[in-house]
């Protein structure tokens, strides 16, 4: 029954999406408001219908309906309830349905929240979002149906079909349960309950700015209206995608067992590309808002951000690239490729058309090379260069080399560590300079004056690092640039609050609250900059100063790395409730001869594959990461890999700051009476 309910709701959602698409197109062409209202109602209906469909699938997973082939392929009777929930996005069919649900949720929110204010753009917005949703629902219905069931034909053959074939009957459920596959071991991790939803929320969220951009292009209303409507949605999608990337890094760190969090894997990079484009847009859109410039560029960035989302989805799910994420491959590659190409070409065609009509011309002339506009343009150029370098390394070079030269190549960490660090260094430099430059014509002298305090505050930590023994030029330069960017953000916040304290006699906490209330976008942005600074500190430390060693030890033997000592104490085996064999080593970790932790690195042996789960001793200074990589038959000798990851926890803490900053920036502006008070020096400071 659950399969019928889920399939019925899915089919109705598809019909609603197509109806909304046609009605919205008609409303746009014929200027019929009644059709537009019908389009809205049909579009709003897709979310509850998909919620119903996915609830049916979830209940089937939780209740073990193994006749549904998706349930059979991602769970088995030993799967705990927690992982039955995460199994919803554990394979292609379920994750596609989940993708569609989140897409319909965004459409639901965007239509309701923008209906009155942006009514003229609504036909285009509904048409684009519903076209996208209808495409993904069609994939679910026709190619990757999560409600397909097993049937036994009269001749005994096992069939898979959404509807009962003529003469077939349902197979024995107990037999199906006994042969069920179970969830991919790599997905049996707490992070899996939150990492994919965050990533999908990020991916699908970019459809809203894209839809508004296309609606603006189609309607010819290319004023700042569409920008105002989309900025908050872009920020939301950007935040979720950033969180998804960070959580993915944490999952890789905990589960993949190689001591790192970012392997420059093509699938990771496919998610990074729209995030980079979104970051560039969030900066350059300020120029359009404040100065009426870069209108064409902003349009292109929004188009490329969603195009990168569709390309990433295509690359991840089509088998275009092989990686640890390849569990999600299937034969939907060509339809995804066609849809990605069509959407991108239509969007670029519309942009070209409007550009030729002069509708994307800048409203204001450039004021000076040292103004904030120029620095933002440079920032966008660096983001574009990063996009190119990462796209080339992940997809461009391997595909061209394989297709044209018949020589498959891999561009791995070596390539990315040669190409990306200089670009990231320039980005951090610009992150430090841009907040100090004024809009319009800013003098270099003013920029230099503004830099004095942050530079002075940057020097002492660098001197301390040099005194502590860090002498490599690249590390000092990297830390110098990152610290400078952070100091600028911090000083800008302090300057703003100090102005309020002096002008209004507010206490520091009052001044800070009022400051953030008054200009959430700007000060939320500074908190994001601080978050990125903290992440930068962690990335530099864990990349440049990572230390590693591996040895085989007999019980009682030790290995040392820097001032840490690891002693192998014991080895044991146990069978877990879900059927995996746990091979656990007990080790003692000491530092300078002092016992600091007892860790239990282990190998989880699943029928499909073994997984190495690290034992981690975590502190602000570093993570000591211990992997059990092998052992002899009796467990008398075991091989350990010991890795020291300096400052790695700054990566996760910076992520929290990034989240806080984005929430501040995206929160709707409601000025309190106190924070609305302005006088001329404050306006000067906070403009």
């Amino acid at each position: 029954m659950l399969a019928e309910i889920g399939l019925g709701a899915l089919l109705l959602a598809f019909v609603a999406a197509v109806t909304a698409l046609l009605a919205a197109l008609g409303a746009g062409l014929r200027k019929r408001d009644d059709w537009l209202r019908s389009a809205r109602n049909a579009a709003l209906l897709t979310f509850p219908l998909l919620l119903c469909s996915i609830s049916a699938l979830l209940l089937a997973l939780l209740d073990g309906h193994y006749q549904i082939s998706y349930v059979w392929s991602v769970t088995d009777p030993a799967t705990p309830s927690f992982y039955r929930f995460t199994a919803l996005w554990g394979s292609q069919q379920g994750s596609l349905l989940f993708w569609s649900l989140l897409l319909s949720l965004y459409c639901f929110g965007a239509i309701l929240l923008n209906w009155r204010e942006h009514r003229p753009l609504m036909p285009g917005v509904i048409a684009v979002t519903m076209a996208t949703l209808a495409f993904f629902l069609a994939l679910s219905l026709l190619l990757e149906n999560p409600f397909e069931r097993f049937w036994l034909a009269a001749d005994g053959a096992v069939l898979r079909s959404a509807f009962i074939p003529a003469g077939a009957r349902a197979p024995d459920i107990a037999r199906l349960a006994a042969t069920a596959s179970g969830l991919n071991p790599l997905l049996r991790h707490f992070g899996m309950i939150i990492h994919p939803p965050m990533l999908y929320l990020g991916f699908t969220g970019f459809v809203i700015p894209f839809a508004f951009a296309l609606a603006a292009l189609a309607s010819g209303d290319l004023s700042a209206t569409w920008i105002r409507a989309t900025r908050r949605w872009t920020l939301l999608a950007w935040m979720f995608l950033g969180l998804g990337l960070l959580l993915g890094g944490r999952w890789a760190y905990d589960v993949l067992g190689w001591g790192g969090y970012w392997g420059w894997d093509p699938v990771e990079n496919a998610a990074l590309l729209p995030w980079l484009t979104g970051t560039a847009f969030l900066h350059s859109v300020l120029i359009q808002e404040k100065r009426g410039m870069l209108r064409l560029w902003n349009m292109l960035l929004v188009i490329f951000a969603f195009s990168a989302v569709l390309f990433g989805t295509f690359a991840t799910r089509s088998g275009l690239i092989e990686s640890v994420h390849s569990f999600a491959r299937s034969d939907i590659g060509f339809p995804l490729f066609a849809f990605w190409s069509a959407m991108t070409l239509v969007a670029l065609g519309l942009t070209l058309w409007r550009q030729r009509q002069g509708l994307l011309r800048d409203e204001r002339a450039f004021a000076g090379l040292s103004g904030r506009e120029s620095l933002f343009v440079l920032n966008n150029v660096v983001f574009a260069a990063l996009f190119i370098a990462i796209f080339w390394g992940s997809f461009g070079a391997p595909l061209i080399s394989e297709v044209l030269l018949d020589a498959p190549i891999t561009l791995g960490v070596d390539y990315f560590m040669q190409v990306t660090p200089p670009l990231f260094a320039i980005l951090f430099l610009l992150m430090g300079l841009a907040p100090l430059a004024a809009w319009g014509n800013s003098s270099l002298r003013r920029l230099g004056m503004g830099l004095r305090a942050p530079l002075l505050l940057t020097l002492p930590p660098l001197a301390l690092l040099a005194l502590a023994g860090m002498r490599t030029a690249e590390a000092l330069l990297a830390y110098g640039l990152v610290t400078l960017a952070g100091m600028v953000a911090l000083i800008e916040i302090i300057r703003g609050a100090r102005a309020r304290v002096r002008a209004w006699g507010e206490t520091w906490p009052q001044a800070l609250v009022a400051l953030f209330n008054r200009n959430r976008g700007r000060y939320g942005g500074y908190v994001v900059h601080l978050g990125v600074t903290v992440i930068g500190i962690g990335v530099i430390g864990s990349t440049l100063f990572q230390a590693e060693t591996q040895r085989t030890l007999a019980r009682g033997e030790s290995l040392t790395l820097q001032n840490y000592e690891l002693r192998f104490d014991d080895f044991s085996e146990a069978l877990a409730n879900d059927g995996r064999l746990l091979q656990v080593a007990a080790v003692t970790l000491s530092r300078d001869g002092r016992h600091i932790a007892r860790l239990r690195p282990r190998i989880d042996v699943f029928p499909q594959q073994p997984m190495t789960i690290a034992g981690i001793h975590s502190s602000a200074e570093n993570d000591v990461y211990v992997l059990l990589t092998g052992h002899d038959e009796t467990g008398a000798r075991a091989t350990f890999r010991l890795t020291i990851n300096p400052l790695i926890n700054f990566v996760w803490w910076g992520g929290l700051l990034l989240l806080a900053g984005t929430l501040i920036a995206a929160w709707p502006q409601q000025l309190s009476v106190a924070s609305q008070r302005q006088d001329s020096p404050l306006q000067e400071l906070q403009a």
């Binding site: 990686s323 640890v324 343009v377 190119i388 390394g393 891999t410 060693t549 073994p610």
Partner: protein
């Protein structure tokens, strides 16, 4: 002289025995520069499949036999293709891989530079007085009159 020669011969015979045994770290240092030939995009030192363990054992034997890391990597490339290294060793493929992104990035920087230059020109053009502006003629005549009165 004979004693010295005898000592040298004995020393050369004893050298392999005195040489440091190949450690896991030595093997991983080479394996980290290689990618698993079977499971794509997984560095060999991190790969724990049976095939990868065997390849790592092979690297250990090769190091033990005195082969340099470069020779071992070249051997892997000869057997499994350019896919097993993080950046291709073949000069053409290496140039394609490494030069192209910089060329494209340079293109992006040049485009940005051209945009800024165009903006700067527009600004200069906007701030320069128009030679055919009647206001300019009028201003010139007023200034000439003022100079004449002085």
């Amino acid at each position: 002289m004979k004693t010295i020669l005898l000592a040298l011969v004995l020393l050369s015979l004893a050298l392999p025995a005195l040489a440091q045994p190949v450690s896991d770290d030595d093997v991983n240092a080479v394996a980290a520069r290689l990618y698993c030939p079977v499971c794509e995009n997984v560095p060999l030192d991190d790969c724990e499949t049976a095939a990868c363990r065997q390849w790592k054992s092979e690297i250990r034997y090769q190091l033990d036999a005195g082969l340099s890391p470069k020779t071992i990597i070249d051997d892997f490339v000869a057997r499994f293709g350019q896919r097993v290294v993080g950046t291709p060793t073949d000069p053409t493929l290496r140039a394609l891989a490494l030069v192209t992104p910089w060329a494209l990035a340079l293109g992006a920087f040049l485009s940005g530079g051209l945009l800024l230059r165009r903006w700067a020109r527009q600004r200069r053009a906007a701030s320069l007085p128009d030679a055919h502006d009647p206001q300019n003629d009028y201003r010139a005549r007023v200034e000439a009159d003022l100079r004449a009165r002085r």
